[in-house]
């Protein structure tokens, strides 16, 4: 039996009420999952239930609601520990998303442990959120930023990476999966090589966690960060995993309540992990709902979801390749279900507008990876990205939509 048969995609689609609507008179085809996935009813219900029955500020409260909210909040942390294969809940820090996770490491680990003359390595296929925080740090501290080149197929040039490594390199920050191309990067190898020269590694997992099994201990990642909203969870919440000994050595990120042990005007002592990095009242409802999202994934099985998405990727790649004048950008051997493409003589914005009129939602532009677009000498692409609830029939609609676009613009 194939994954698609095991999964009953029609039943899964019924879990996502947003999909059941018409856009411009056509049934919605949602192919912008790499930007954000839709949310199942169970996740939406968790948020509603939390505010209807359990809302209270967490920790320190002694009344029943505070206990309930704290219990559910911490249960989510434990679920995430399990999801990432981390050894302790002390290593799971809640953030607002991947961007904050990266900025937290740049501001704390970066400022404390990376000095003038040191080097940081990123890659040529990073999202701006994994470029700009490092540029800011490098400018402030006189640190050198090096970039792993990208090959024509859209893979990292690992030979060049090996040649960049030296004892000057203190940190490597790369994505697990490219948001623009779908490339799965060999992060285990990248980490192993980095550790050999004593450098730490941060993995931007924003695009990986909904598709791949993550085991931070097997990877030996020093930091791993992701956003809930890209794996069927709510927006505004994310996670930073860090190895306990590194997090302990890092100064706090933001000052405020929750992150302190004792405060006097003379001196403040900081709370223990993970609270040291969680100043202020967190986004409690969405943290609780993230656990529901992980349960939704577990219910269907990540392997089944991945197999279904792989089938969609193969099908879309075949079907799109048959369109004359269409070129797929990013043809790595290892990919998640993302297809980025350009069409001869047609601007991606025109493609986006005309597909939207046919009910098909795709993303167009540079996908917050301008240097990568420059690498391929293009202004942007049209990107279709698939999730568990997508079908081959929807891909057929995309293909038909693109034929119509071609006809209209010829």
């Amino acid at each position: 039996m194939t994954a698609t048969e095991i999964l009953d995609i029609q039943a899964i689609r019924a879990d996502f009420p947003i999909l059941n609507q018409e856009i411009n008179g056509r049934k919605l085809v949602y192919f912008d999952n790499a930007a954000t996935t839709q949310k199942p009813t169970s996740v939406i219900d968790t948020i509603t239930h939390y505010y209807n029955f359990d809302n209270a500020n967490i920790h320190r409260g002694i009344h029943t609601l505070a206990e309930r909210a704290t219990r559910d909040f911490e249960a989510s942390r434990e679920a995430i520990r399990d999801f990432l294969g981390a050894s302790s809940i002390e290593e799971i820090i809640f953030t607002s998303g991947t961007t904050q996770g990266i900025n937290l490491v740049a501001s704390t680990f970066g400022r404390k442990f990376i000095k003038e003359g040191d080097e940081i390595i990123i890659s040529g296929m990073e999202h701006h959120s994994n470029i700009v925080p490092w540029q800011m740090l490098c400018e402030e501290r006189g640190i050198k930023l090096k970039v792993i080149p990208v090959t024509d197929l859209g893979e990292l040039d690992m030979e060049a990476y090996v040649n960049m490594l030296s004892e000057k390199v203190k940190l490597i920050s790369v994505n697990h999966v490219s948001n623009s191309l779908g490339t799965i990067n060999p992060v285990k190898k990248i980490i192993e090589l980095a550790h050999a020269v004593g450098a730490k590694v941060l993995i931007d997992g924003a695009q990986a966690t909904s598709h791949l099994n993550i085991d931070v201990q097997a990877l030996d990642a020093d930091f791993y960060t992701f956003s809930a909203h890209k794996l069927y969870g709510p927006t505004g919440i994310g996670v930073l995993y860090g190895k306990k000994e590194i997090l302990n050595a890092m100064p706090p990120y933001m000052g405020g309540g929750e992150m302190i042990k004792e405060v006097t005007f003379e001196k403040t002592t900081y709370n223990e992990l993970p609270y040291k990095f969680e100043a202020g009242t967190p986004n409690i409802a969405d943290v609780v709902a993230l656990k529901t999202a992980l349960e939704y994934i577990a219910l269907h099985g990540k392997e089944n979801i991945a197999a279904h998405e792989d089938m969609l990727l193969q099908y879309a790649t075949e079907q799109l390749s048959e369109i004359e004048g269409l070129r797929i950008i990013g043809q790595a051997k290892e990919k998640v279900s993302v297809v980025s493409f350009v069409m001869d003589g047609i601007h991606h914005q025109d493609i986006g507008v005309l597909l939207d009129n046919q009910g098909v939602a795709v993303r167009t532009g540079h996908h917050c990876t301008q240097p990568l677009m420059q690498r391929f000498n293009i202004l942007g692409t049209t990107r279709a990205s698939f999730a568990v609830y997508n079908t081959t029939e929807e891909i057929d609609k995309l293909v038909a939509g693109l034929h119509k676009v071609k006809k209209m613009l010829s």
């Binding site: 025109d350 005309l354 202004l379």
Partner: protein
Amino acid sequence: MTINETQDEIIEEFELFDDWADKYEYIIDLGKKLKGLPEEQKTEENIIKGCQSRVWLNAHQEGEKLFFEADSEAIIVKGLVNMLIRVLSGHTPKDISEADLYFIDKIGMSSHLAQTRSNGLASMVKQMKNYAIAYTP
């Protein structure tokens, strides 16, 4: 013809279309017909920021009237720009800066003014009005 007379004329033309494809084919055709700008005028100075596609806008004055020329990489934007030029070009700076561009909504193109489109139609309108203010005696 006044600015509003041209707007009403465009609204009338669009009433002929009964589906989205006809409407967009017409806009695409207008995009193809727009003369555009020579390469040397596609400068950083003439570029309109905040667009998903690059748009260049240039203005010049003849007597009391202001004239616009523009170009874009994306054909639909070019078609929309063609209509804006048809409505606003050749009028006095005062009339241009005070114009209420109701035709965009009436022909069902107001989504192109939305921020998410980032296609610069809103920026384009703003820039045309800025030129008009700058040229107002």
